[in-house]
Structure formats: C-alpha cells, structure tokens
C-alpha cells in the first residue's frame, strides 16, 4: 500500500513535470499559441466556442482572433480577450471566478482547467494574446540544420534529433551492436528475421559501409514490398469478406498484390496515391491503374436482404470520404458529417463537398444477397491474358477469371446534397465537389471536379498535409512513434510534433525528391538516430520514458502477422510465395461456425493443406466478422474501417497463443527434429540464433541446456508416445525420441522469450 502510494506520487510528478517541460520548450519564457495555448482552448473551450456555428454558445467564438477580440454579444462593454490585460479579459475572469454559475467550463461539461493551464492562459494574454494559424495548415518549409556533434551525425535527421535530445538533457545512446542492428533493420524492411547465414556474413563484414550494403540488399528484397504493404492493408481496410452480417467472400486480393508490386517497384508516393485514388480517370490509365482504384472499394458491403439501398450506398461513400481524410490527410473528417467539426476548420459543407468526389460511382447499396457476387460492379475482369501480360505481378495458379471491385464515375455528375444531421434521408443544400478551404483552397478551374482533381490538390506544392502525413507515418514505423504521435490526427486535438522542424524538413525534402519512398526509407534507417542502441537506462526512464526525444532506439513488439512469420521463417517452414488468394491456416475449431448466419461459402472454415499452411501472416484470410483469433489477440485490425495506428498491448492471452498455438508448436517440433541428432549445445545455439537473431550468452546457454536435460529426464520417466505429433508438416526421423521432445519444448521456450517477438 505504501509502495503503491509512493509510486502514485512518482507517477503524478512525472506526468506533471513531463507536461511542464513540454509546454515550456523554449527558454525565453514566451508562451506559444500553437504549442501551449491552443491545446487548452481546443480541448476545453472550442466545443461550445469553436468552429461549429450551430452549437456556439453566447455567439462567442474563441478559435479565431476576430471572435475573441470582439465585443461580447450579451455585454458590448466587455471583450473575451483584451491583449495584455488578463484582468479585463472575460476569458480569464470566467475561468478563475469562484462563482460556479459563472465559471467556465461549466460544471456540467465535466471539464476542468488545471492551475497550470490557467497560468498559461494568463501569461498568453499578458504577452499580447496573439493567435497563430494551426501548424499543420501552414505549408512546411526547410529550415537550416541545427548544429550537432559532428562525430555522431550521419545525415540531416540526426542534426534535428541531436538538438532536440540535448535540449531535453539527454545524449545519444551508443550504436546498437551488429546483431541487434541487423535484426532491427531486417524486421523493419522485410518483416522477416535475418537468417543465420546473413548474420554470419554481416558479422564478418568489417568494411565501414557494411551496414549500408545490408540496407541496400534488404531494400532490393521482394519482401520489402510485402512489409511496406502490411501497414497499407490496415489503412485500406483490406479484407477477404464483405463484412456486415452475412459476410460473404470477396476477391480483392489482386489489388493487394498490386500494392506489394508498387512498393517493390518503388513507385513514387505520388504515383502510388494517384493510381489508387484516380487510376480510372487519369489520361494514361491502364488496366493496372484501374486495378489500383480497388483501394476505394475495400470498404464493407452489406448483403443483408431487406436493407434500404440508398442508405447503404451512402454508407459506402461515407466510408470512402472518412478513409480519404484519415489515410491521406490525417484529419478526422468523420466528425464533420453530422455537424461542423467541433475543433477543426472542416465544415459540414466541406465534408459533403469531399463526399461529392466519391459519390459518382455507378454502384448499389445492396447488389444482391450473399454469394450474388464476390466483386460487385463496377468491377474489373482479370483473365489469363492480363496475368501473362500487364498484371504479371498477380499470383494466380488457376486460369479462371477473377473479378476485382474498382472505381468508376458515372457519366454526368450525380448531385450531392448535404445530409441534415448526417442522415441520408434528410438531404439539405446541394454542394459541388471541393475540399476544406483552410487546408488549401480547391480551385475547380485549376484542378477539375473529379477525383483526379482531388489528387492534383493533394500533390500541389503548397498542400501542407500530404507530405507531412506520409513522412510521419513512415517515421512511426521505424522509430516506434510518430513525430506527431497521433498519426491519424493532425488537427487541433491531435498531438503536437515533438520535432516540428525535422518533420517539415523531411516533408519538403521528400517532395523535392519526387516523392521517392525508398530514398526516404533509406535516409531514416541509415541515420545515426535509427542506429542507436535500444537499451533503456535509468536516466531514460526518468527523463523520457516514452522515448519522445529519441536518445535511444525503441523496442517494439512485432505485429500479429510478423509473430507468425517469425515462427515460420526461423523454423524453415515459411513458404516465400508472394501474393495470391488468401489462405486459411490452422484455427481453433468451430469459430466461424459458431458465429455465422449459416449462409454463404464462408459459413464453415475449411482449412488449407500443404504449402499454403506456411504462407506469411499477411496472407491469412480475413473474414471481417470473425478475424483470425490469434491475430486479434496480438492487436491486429478487424479491417472494419481505416486504421493508421495499431495498439500494441501485452496480455495473458498473448502468452497463451505463444504457448499453445499450433503454429508455434509445429515450428518448435520441426526445428527440433531437424537438429535432434546434433550435440545439444550446438542445436540450442543454432535455434537461438534463428529465433532471437544473436548468439546466446553463456548464462542463457546454461539455462537452456539445463532445461533440456531436466526435460529429457522427465520425459524418459513419463514414457508418453506421440508427443511430436504436432502440425501437418512431415515428420523427420529422429534417433532419440525423448531428447527430441525435450528439445522441442526448449525451442518453444525460446519462442516465448520476451526478446523473440520484439524488434530491439
């Protein structure tokens, strides 16, 4: 109890000091509107005194200087904000008054201002109460590289990182050891652990550019495309079923194969996005670019007989609109569907103007009930000719045609109306295609009024969001968290960038270098910042437990798919095929059957056999209503809607998966059988290197051999047959049965080490 209390105090102190330190970043004592004030106003005031005109109280608006400086509607002698004078500013008086009837925020809002927040508001007013535009809506500009320790920095990234960590009182960590570095970069770039052969090769390579050479090798690997595509599957809410209650089969996997192809070919981000958003409209469109538009058809589609067609059609358009906002602009568009956005300058009209771009598809809300179609029109037929020709990246074994849903605009513009309160059956004023003005005005004469115009707007040099959003998302995957931690929200309520100049420098640099993704990736993974050790010291825990200031590398748990890949790859079971129809691996019995409506081809789970059982995690069949349970337990998305950031949790159910999922057991068995006839120590060393990607240290090796001996003795007494019967992969004959079982258990223990599924 006492310890608990102390910890609570410690935690509370840490929270406060962290915030304090964050707020008062510059030493001048200057309170900054964007960094200090707006987060408070936005979180506590804008809901009633912000952009949404319909719910604005007392006619007072605090998100614009005009609103705040103006005379109050109900008391023309007073003003909300009098620059330099907190004592005559209604804002300050109302947040400090003891009269609870006058107090802001009102009691019923369940919001409170802390003393510290009140202090910041006072300082801000004293210093002139100046407003600034929201940082994310100001186009990024390159600033000069800050000075840094010349012996440490390797590229531009490091200049910014160095300066920031120093101002937080931290120093760079030493470079990670070669084994750790190789494991990290191999997992980051291909999603697979480095083979023992690669480990040996890298350890022996003493050339100064050995690491760069490995990076180049990994960037050329065809698994790079898979790894990059993995995150995009969440963004694009890719799945193998339609969703909703009957949840029938769909065939969008050729689209997924295209994404892998696009990353492997290093399509520029501009091409990657243009194909997906407007591949059916661009001048040089091709079957390939039309296939890419499947992105906007990955949303759920109902097959529930009896739904109202128009309700669901509008639901699909809504999904596309929301996904567009979140995926490409990191804005919470969905908040502006029923009313003006409460925090960000996205009006309900803006929402429906954006909606209008996606509202032109000749589609139905309900095309037919289950199994009416695996790909509702408009769709693209892919036959043998295409696969032998332009679409040769599609992995298809049989010769049957496959249909993929794609985008198309109807001839003539479908009228779009704003929906009152967001309801499809209460249309309001008519709107024309457009985008939020405050991000960047949409000039129809310049861009045109279809999705191609929308893409042009996105890639206009003055668009403040496009490059930042993508750079930040890539950053998050290599550094454990985004420069803007809320990778899906660059709006007022999102987190502020920890390294604003770095984000802007990278964004401009990316645009200037033709949106070249591999170049950007390479810059990140060859930086000294990336190459730091991830060892956590007491100082780190005190000053920066969340690693905001990058004075070390981040340890992150592998994604669900990669946990599977690690087991299959390290045991030699992995089938390295790329793409193709999704596969159905081992799954506990009855899961689909228990929750199905009983209709359609997915009512029963029919497990695959042979080589298909050993495909990578990203090819595991995703039935939306019943996603693979071992993946969900490791925080995989159910692909219900666009997701840009998976949680990473740690639960006992994850331990149970590692202990009893046949994937892990089979990998342990096969590895044990393959090495059973070698001396114990050599076998364990080899297994350890395959799984943990480094040599075990002597203490670890002793523990492992000790356990192996202990288990061998126990099993000899137990005399139980058939303990090696796990999984469908063929048996390898072994001489000593009990020792092999014991080796299997020991290897399984290695898989269960914390380090095994952590990118260190």
């Amino acid at each position: 109890m006492r310890i608990g209390y102390l910890l609570w105090v410690l935690a509370a102190w840490a929270t406060w000091s962290c915030r304090q330190e964050n707020r008062l970043t510059d030493n001048s004592g200057e309170v900054d509107y964007n960094y200090h004030v707006r987060p408070i106003l936005s979180d506590k005031c804008f809901k009633c005194h912000g952009p949404d005109a319909n719910t604005r109280e007392a006619g007072l608006r605090l998100d614009t200087p005009e609103g705040a400086y103006a005379a109050l509607k109900d008391n023309p002698h007073a003003r909300a904000l009098v620059p330099g004078s907190p004592k005559t500013s209604e804002i300050y008086l109302r947040i400090t008054t003891k009269d609870m009837a006058q107090r802001m925020p009102p009691v019923e809002a369940n919001l409170n201002l802390s003393d510290e927040e009140i202090w910041i508001i006072r300082k801000w007013i004293e210093q002139g109460g100046k407003y600034k535009p929201h940082w994310a809506f100001i186009p990024p500009q390159k600033t000069e590289l800050p000075g840094a320790d010349g012996g440490w920095v390797r590229n531009a990234i490091d200049h910014f990182a160095y300066s920031r960590m120093r101002s937080a009182g931290l120093k760079p960590a030493e470079e990670a050891g070669k084994e750790a570095l190789l494991k990290r970069v191999s997992l980051d770039l291909t999603g697979l652990p480095p083979s023992v052969e690669m480990q040996e090769r890298f350890l022996k390579d003493k050339r100064p550019d050995a690491y760069e050479k490995i990076v180049d090798e990994l960037l050329k690997s065809r698994h790079y495309g898979e790894q990059m595509a993995l995150d995009w599957m969440d963004v694009a809410r890719y799945a193998d079923s339609h969703g909703y209650q009957d949840d029938g089969l769909r065939t969008m996997w050729p689209w997924r194969d295209w994404v892998i192809h696009a990353f492997n070919q290093n399509y520029s981000y501009k091409k990657f996005v243009t194909y997906q958003l407007a591949g059916d409209l661009i001048k040089d469109r091709s079957t390939e670019s039309i296939l890419a538009t499947g992105f906007n058809r990955n949303h759920k589609i109902t097959q529930e007989g009896g739904v109202i067609d128009e309700e669901y059609r509008s639901e699909y358009v809504t999904d596309r609109t929301n996904t567009f906002g979140k995926a490409f602009l990191s804005l919470t568009f969905e908040c502006a569907k029923c009313h003006d956005h409460k925090y960000d300058p996205i009006s309900q009209k803006d929402y429906f103007r954006t909606y209008a771009f996606f509202n032109q598809v000749p589609e139905k809300g309900l095309f037919g009930t289950i199994d009416a179609s695996f790909a509702d029109p408009p769709n693209l037929k892919i036959g043998r000719e295409e696969i032998n020709g332009i679409l040769n990246f599609i992995h298809k074994k049989d010769t049957a045609d496959v249909y993929v849903m794609v985008m198309k605009d109807s001839a003539g513009l479908r009228k779009t109306h704003l929906f009152e309160r967001g309801n499809y059956d209460t249309p309001g004023v008519e709107v024309t295609p457009g985008l939020p003005e405050q991000v960047l005005p949409f000039d129809v004469s310049r861009y045109g009024n279809n999705r191609e115009g929308l893409v042009k707007w996105m890639f206009a040099p003055e668009n403040p969001l496009t490059a930042r959003v993508w750079v930040n998302r890539l950053w998050a995957r290599f550094f454990g968290r985004g420069i803007v931690a809320t990778t899906g929200d660059f709006g007022m309520q999102g987190d502020l960038p920890t390294h604003p100049e770095l984000l802007d420098w990278l964004a401009v640099d990316f645009r200037e270098h033709h949106w070249d993704i591999k170049r950007l990736v390479k810059m990140m993974v060859t930086s000294a910042t990336y190459r730091q050790s991830s060892k956590v010291t007491r100082k780190h825990l005190e000053k920066d437990p969340q690693n905001r200031y990058l004075a070390r590398s981040s340890r992150t748990r592998l994604k669900a798919e990669l946990v599977r890949d690690l087991a299959l790859s390290s045991s030699g079971l992995l089938n390295l095929d790329i793409g193709g129809p999704s596969i159905k691996p081992y799954q506990p019995e009855g899961i689909w059957e228990k929750s199905t409506s009983g209709r359609g081809s997915l009512a029963r789970y029919v497990q695959d056999e042979g080589a298909d059982l050993y495909r990578r995690g990203m090819y595991v069949f995703i039935k939306r209503t019943v996603p693979p349970p071992n993946m969900l337990i490791f925080d995989a998305s159910n692909r219900d809607q666009c997701e840009v950031n998976r949680l990473s949790t740690n639960t006992p159910l994850q331990a149970l998966v590692m202990l009893n999922d046949p994937v892990i057991l089979e990998a342990s068995r096969v590895l044990a059988q393959k090495m059973a006839d070698r001396p114990s120590e050599i076998a364990l060393r080899e297994a350890f290197r395959r799984i943990i990607c480094r040599e075990p240290d002597p203490r670890e090796l002793k523990l492992l051999t000790g356990f192996l001996e202990q288990e061998t003795a126990r099993l000899r007494k137990l005399k139980k047959p058939d303990l090696l019967k796990v999984g469908e992969y063929r048996d390898f004959p072994v001489k000593e049965y009990e020792k092999t079982v014991a080796l299997m258990y020991t290897i399984q223990m290695i898989y269960n080490m914390e380090e095994a599924i952590v990118r260190i």
């Binding site: 310890i3 608990g4 910890l7 609570w8 410690l10 935690a11 929270t15 936005s42 369940n110 909703y244 109902t302 529930e304 009896g306 739904v307 109202i308 919470t332 908040c335 925090y343 059956d425 809320t486 899906g488 007022m492 999102g494 060892k535 956590v536 010291t537 825990l541 437990p545 969340q546 506990p588 228990k594 929750s595 409506s597 939306r624 209503t625 159910n638 219900d640 809607q641 949680l647 949790t649 740690n650 639960t651 006992p652 159910l653 331990a655 149970l656 009893n660 203490r699 523990l703 202990q710 126990r714 137990l718 139980k720 303990l723 079982v741 258990y745 223990m749 914390e754 380090e755 260190i760």
Partner: protein, 479 residues
C-alpha cells in the same frame, strides 16, 4: 472528476507505473486485469479516487442477448386487439411514415396479425406473459419488463452494433469493454469481460467479434470468448506431456536476464502476463466444468445444461463466472429472426431459453447474489404487428420493427415486479415512457455506479461515451 479514466489507465498505469515500477512485477501491473474499483484500494494502482460516481447497486452484469430480435408480440407485449383485427391492413395513420425494410417494402398490404399464443397475467404486477415462457412467468415478481424500448436501426448489423456499442456504425467499445474499463476486474485470475455463444434452430443471424470489441480502448478490455466443454478459452489447454510450471520458471529466469540487458520494464510486465496466463490455466477449467454441479442445480437449468454450447449450459456457466467475479458476461443466443414460420420457430427458440433464463435468476437469488448482479434479457429491435409474406390461419412471419420492443431486467438495483412503458393497442407505437437505447445504457451504467456523462475516453481528439451524445437515466425502473 475529469478525464479520470484516460489519465488513470493510459498515463499512470501503463506508461508510468509500467515503466517506472521496475522489479515490482508482483503487483501484476499492465495485466489483463484492471484493478478492482470496489476493493477500496484504487489508489494502490495509481487510480484517482472518485469512482464510482454513485453508490453502485450492480457489481456485475449478465446480459442474455436474444440475437435476431424475438417478437415482443408473442412474449411480453400482449395485444388482444391484433387478434380481433387480424387480416385488416395496418392504418397508415399508425405507421406514420415509418420506413420499411427491403423485405416488406414491396408488399401490397400490411395485414395485422395477433399472437397465436395465449397470454396470462402473472405476479403481483399482473404482467402479461405468453404461454411460450412459463418459467419466466414464474419469476414475474423478480423482473422488470420494459415494453417501450426503441431504436433507430432496422437492420440487424447496425441494430446489434447500436445495442452493444451505443452507435450504429463504427468500431466503438462494447458495453462490456466500457464496464471493464470503468470498473476494473474483481478476480485476478479471470478477464473482466467474457462472451458465450449459442444457437437455436430458428432463422439465425450471425454474431461478430466486433460486438465484444474493445474499440479504441486498450485490448485488456476486449471480451474473451468462453465456452463450456473441453476447451473453454482459446489456446488455454496445454498439450499432453507438458510441465508448464517448470517451463515458466525457466522462462522467467531467461526473461530476467533479458531485462538486465535491455532495461526495459515491459520485460517485467511480460513475465507478469505469463504468470497470469498460468493462473487462468489453473482456474478456468475448474470453473467451466459444469459436471460437478449438484443435481438440484442441473434440474433447475434443465438437462441441456450438461451439453456444452447450449444456452442452458451458458446460463449456468454465466452464473459461475459471475460468482467468481467476472464483471460482464455477455451471452448471445442466435435464431430469433422470424420473418416467416414464426409460430413454429418461436416454440423452439423459447424452449431453448425459457427455463435456463428463469433458473439463472432463481439461482442468483438463492445465493444472495441477485441484489448485486444485473441480468438483462432481450434483442436488438422488435417485430412488426403485421404479417410479412403469406398470412394463413396457422402461420405468419414478422418483419423488423424499431419503434417498440420489449426486454426485461432483474436484480442489481432494478425495481422488481414492474412493467414499464406501454405501446398503443396495436403494439406499433409507444404511448408511454419510451426508453431509447442511449437511455438504457445510461441506466445500466447508473446501476453500476457510473455517470454515463463522465465515463469518457478521449480518442482522436474527441471524448467518447457509451451513450454518445444523448441518454437519460430512467428513474422509473430503479429500485
């Protein structure tokens, strides 16, 4: 009373305590289990005091979800006028522009149809209950029937999602996840939120894992699927020949070496998770083994309760889980979607659930647990008072009806022996005391001691509630 939850769970518990509290893995930080709010030791895990908002009545919830929407007109909302007016068209004045599903929108007429099953009054309140539910009728004095539930959704997926998450669309946390988040867990060996599935022979609608999703909350609040039988929790059972304890001891030593090297407190949290998994492996099979229940209990729930996967088995298992401190137990019984062949199918569906539902109430009562356990019985919407498809003397069907439907609740601070709300004489519109889904959620939270406007979680810049932006507690059903 601000931001309680956000700070409490994300910042303090996970990031700070988790990271700073090196070497105190014994406190099981970052576990599946959020510390119990009612233990009085909330400060131990760095939780700000102040929860609950009210003195809680219900400590645990068992939600007997009747999936597919059972007809209120053949169960708890007696409408003799429908029998007299059978075959006559539903007057447009009563329909009042209600939109129709695609299944009946093409129908030329909407012939009213009365219940084929007889009703009788039961208990002190004189509640009308149909002959399909004799056991539930026998507990009429213990339950509160709400005949005035209404929703906006007319299709299963959005309606179910609405009922379970407070919104028709989107990936929001389900009720169980909210309760786990708000109240924590009572049992260190079991998850706070468990889900049990069963299926009747009637026309079925699927259930989806998103219904027990944690949404944007931490995955520790995700519902965990349980079942009676040999494999109660996925991946729980070790294979033959394994000495789990020996392995975990050695694994812990290895991980401690790893911690020395990495210095990352997550390693310690991981060790604690393996210990928790082990405790689950020990506790769960014992708990889910129904074969050792005494005869009188088996008799109460009926012989089906010994068949794994039946509604009766799940009801009994729900009692055991609840008794062991599981905060929220969600049952789904599928097969209640009677678009046609309603009389035939409802007999079977009712037979599946009637006895065990009533047994659960009696069982909790005899153990003195009913007062602190809230039991809810009901579906996602109601069914139309007119016939879908061919109307014959013996057979008929009913389409989806969002404007009025019936559920019942018992225990946990609910007023017993009450019938709340009323529909018009044709059972189409509510004429008294409507209860919207948001109101229902607000009331359930209130019974658990939580203010629905204060149980918030900030996600992507917005504060979310189970009740979204609406909801009023219904005082008329509070004891």
């Amino acid at each position: 009373m601000k931001e309680i939850i956000q700070d409490r769970l994300n910042v303090n518990r996970r990031h700070f305590l988790g990271k700073a509290a090196v070497g105190i893995g014994s406190l099981a930080l970052g576990s599946l289990l959020v510390p119990d709010l009612f233990s009085g030791k909330a400060d131990e895990a760095g939780l700000p005091l102040g929860l609950p908002h009210f003195a809680p009545k219900a400590k645990r919830i068992i939600y007997l979800f009747q999936n597919g929407a059972p007809s209120q007109l053949e169960s708890f909302d007696y409408k003799p006028a429908l029998i007299q007016m059978a075959g006559q068209d539903l007057p447009e004045s009563i329909r009042g522009g209600q939109r129709l599903t695609g299944m009946t929108s093409g129908q030329k007429s909407f012939p009213l149809v009365g219940s084929k099953f007889a009703f009788q009054q039961y208990g002190a309140s004189g509640a009308w209950i149909s002959e399909l539910f004799p056991h539930i009728a026998s507990i009429a004095d213990d339950i509160c029937i709400v005949r005035s539930m209404h929703t906006e959704a007319i299709n299963h997926d959005p309606a179910l999602t609405f009922m379970q998450t407070g919104a028709q669309q989107g990936n929001r946390p389900s009720m169980g996840a909210w309760l786990s988040y708000g109240l924590g867990s009572e049992n260190q060996n079991l998850p706070a939120f468990c889900v049990l599935l069963s299926r009747g022979k009637g026309n079925g609608q699927g259930v989806y894992s998103k219904l027990w999703s944690n949404g944007f909350l931490d995955a520790t609040h995700q519902g965990v699927l349980f079942s009676s039988g040999d494999n109660p929790v996925l991946y729980l059972n070790d294979r033959d020949g394994v000495d789990r304890r020996a392995m975990l001891d050695k694994l812990s030593e290895l991980n401690h070496l790893g911690f020395e090297e990495s210095g990352d407190p997550d390693v310690i949290a991981k060790i604690a998770q393996y210990e928790m998994a082990y405790r689950m492996q020990t506790a769960v099979p014992e708990l889910t083994d129904l074969s050792r229940e005494p005869d009188h209990i088996i008799k109460m729930y009926g012989p089906d309760c010994l068949m794994p996967g039946t509604y009766a088995a799940n009801a009994l298992l729900a009692r055991k889980l609840s008794e062991s401190g599981v905060r929220f137990i969600q049952l789904y019984h599928q097969g209640w979607d009677q678009h046609d062949n309603l009389p035939g199918e409802m007999v079977g569906q009712a037979r599946d659930v009637d006895r065990a539902s009533a047994a659960l109430i009696k069982d909790l009562k005899q153990r003195g647990l009913l007062d602190e356990t809230l039991v809810i019985w009901g579906g996602e919407f109601g069914r139309t008072n007119y016939c879908q498809g061919n109307f014959t003397r013996d057979n008929y069907g009913r389409d989806h009806h969002p404007r009025a439907y019936s559920i019942w609740m018992a225990g946990g601070g609910v007023k017993p022996g009450v019938v709340y709300g009323e529909t018009d004489e044709l059972g189409y519109n509510i004429v008294k005391d409507p209860v919207h889904i948001n109101d229902f959620h607000a009331t359930v939270l209130r019974l658990c001691g939580l203010d629905h406007e204060k149980l918030v979680y900030k996600h992507l810049g917005r504060r979310y509630r189970l009740t979204d932006v609406a909801g009023k507690v219904v005082p008329g059903i509070l004891a």
